[in-house]
């Protein structure tokens, strides 16, 4: 299996009038094709910075972010669907941006939306959809350009607890079925345990990787994992690591 993303001693400093902030310090980790990797860290430790670096929106102060040239899809905390576009037009947005808005690509995107239960909503505006459905539409939008790696920035944190569990299950299923590599960033320990193959733990700012865990669960579905006996064990380990 090849590496699709690697951070080599990456440091990131922010400059402002008030001074210099070190967001990341010597961060090392890698993501292999087909893996679901979660990175957890305390709030405000520079998680979003890390994703922006991975997506190439920022360049590191020191070190290197290495990718294998594959494309990235970014999914944010809120769905950020454009309220003036129908769901269908929202899903076509990345195609328009990349100027690949061809009938075949549109058809592929629509097929994807239909496969995951958005068929009846395609001509609707986002305001008529539930929070869970909207986040699903946001995922289909991300997938419409067929990215190789998905970057998920706490994609469930804006939802209420019930919806969150089911949308998490949902998104996990879609990502697995479409055989995507995913990098999830979150501060929610149980969310990370319920989806990830591998977890990296970040320290407080300036963030460094302080631990790496490979998780093996007999079940793969997030909700099933939460019921597993191993779950609480992992939770305790990660909780301690986050609070040291």
């Amino acid at each position: 299996m090849k590496e699709v993303l690697r951070f080599d001693n990456v440091s990131m400093h922010y400059h402002s009038k008030q001074g210099e902030t070190v967001a990341l310090e010597d961060v090392n980790f890698s993501v292999t094709e087909g893996e679901f990797v979660a990175i957890i860290g305390p709030s405000g430790c520079g998680k979003t910075t890390l994703l922006s670096l991975a997506a190439g929106l920022l360049s590191p102060t020191k070190g290197k972010v290495v990718t294998d040239g594959g494309s990235f899809g970014y999914m944010l905390q809120k769905d950020e669907l454009f309220p003036w576009r129908t769901i269908e037009k929202n899903i076509f947005l990345p195609l328009e941006i990349k100027r690949t808005n061809t009938p075949e690509n549109q058809k592929r995107a629509v097929a994807l939306a239909e496969k995951y239960g958005l068929a009846q909503f395609l001509k609707n505006y986002p305001s008529s959809l539930s929070g869970g459905m909207r986040q699903r539409a946001a995922l289909i939008r991300t997938l419409s350009v067929d990215p190789d790696v998905l970057l998920l920035d706490e994609p469930f944190s804006a939802l209420d607890y019930q919806t969150r569990l089911s949308v998490c299950d949902d998104v996990y299923k879609i990502i697995r079925e479409e055989k995507k590599t995913a990098l999830l960033i979150t501060h929610d320990i149980s969310e990370a345990i319920s989806v990830a193959d591998k977890i990296f733990v970040l320290s407080r700012r300036p963030a460094r990787v302080i631990a790496e865990h490979v998780l093996s669960f007999p079940e793969t579905k997030p909700l099933k994992r939460r019921e597993n006996k191993l779950f609480s064990g992992w939770f305790e380990i990660l909780w301690k690591e986050l609070n040291t």
Partner: protein, 269 residues
């Protein structure tokens, strides 16, 4: 009400109550207008007040009739309407364009900020004499005044709208690899549409202020001219009539914008 049959009795009562209340409010609005006009007319007829100073609805009606038969009504209305609309559209278009430029370049934005602030605070009427000398005493001067009054407001309102674009949506666009032009056309302009509408509403008012004020300073025709002229020769019927016409025109123009708003903003929340 497609599913009216399925509603419970309580809900139907509730709906009926809402309807009743709406009707009542409309009746009250009309009644107040009729009452005021009635009292005004009556007090003039019975000479409780001097109708030479206060005018009266019937005298206003008569004056407008005279203007109409004299053939000058539409000339004056047309002149003011033309000046107002020309000033309105030029100010809106120019303001929108300049706001776009300011959004595009942070440098340009920061450089122009103190100028915009001062120009916004400056009472534009102070430039009256200059405008007369620069543009002459015709309609051009009045249109120029109207543009001056609306322009800065249009720029500031639109710029606010552009700058208020949601940070996360910007991040989303950037993560998709959008160019600045794509961000502008696919995100910033559509998301600022409500600001555009409210800017239009504000500028309807500004345009009328501009054209009437312009006509106060310098004019040979128009509604503002009628008001000033009527005041100078103590024909208060004429002043009142002109104000009455102005009320109607401003209301019509405002409802046109409100209609546009209803057409454009349907699916937003």
């Amino acid at each position: 009400m497609k599913n009216e049959k399925n509603y419970s009795r309580e809900h139907l009562l509730y709906l009926r109550g809402l309807k009743k209340k709406n009707i009542w409010i409309n009746v009250a609005r009309v009644a107040i207008l009729l009452c005021l006009l009635g009292i005004w007319e009556l007090s003039a007829q019975l000479a409780w007040v001097n109708p030479f100073i206060t005018s009266s609805p019937s005298r206003i009606f008569k004056t407008i009739g005279e203007l109409y038969t004299g053939g000058t009504l539409f000339y004056h209305v047309g002149t003011t309407l033309w000046e107002t609309l020309a000033g309105f559209f030029i100010a809106v278009a120019l303001g929108y364009g300049i706001a776009l430029l300011l959004w595009w370049s942070e440098c340009f934005r920061r450089i122009s900020e103190p100028y915009l602030v001062v120009l916004n605070a400056l009472p534009k009427i102070a430039l009256g004499p200059l405008i007369i000398i620069w543009c002459g005493t015709g309609s051009t001067a009045i249109v120029f005044m109207t543009i001056l009054i609306g322009l800065i407001v249009a720029i500031l309102n639109m710029l606010n709208g552009f700058m208020a674009t949601d940070e996360n949506k910007l991040l989303l666009m950037k993560s998709m690899g959008a160019t600045k032009w794509q961000i502008l056309t696919k995100l910033v302009i559509p998301s600022s549409l409500p600001n555009f509408i409210s800017m239009l509403k504000i500028n309807v008012g500004m345009a009328w202020i501009g054209s009437i004020m312009g006509e106060y300073i310098v004019s040979k025709a128009g509604i503002g001219y009628l008001i000033v002229y009527g005041g100078q020769v103590f024909k208060l019927d004429l002043v009142m009539s002109a104000v009455f016409i102005l009320c109607i025109l401003a209301a019509v123009m405002y409802s046109a914008v409100a209609l546009l708003e209803r057409l454009v903003i349907k699916n937003r929340k």
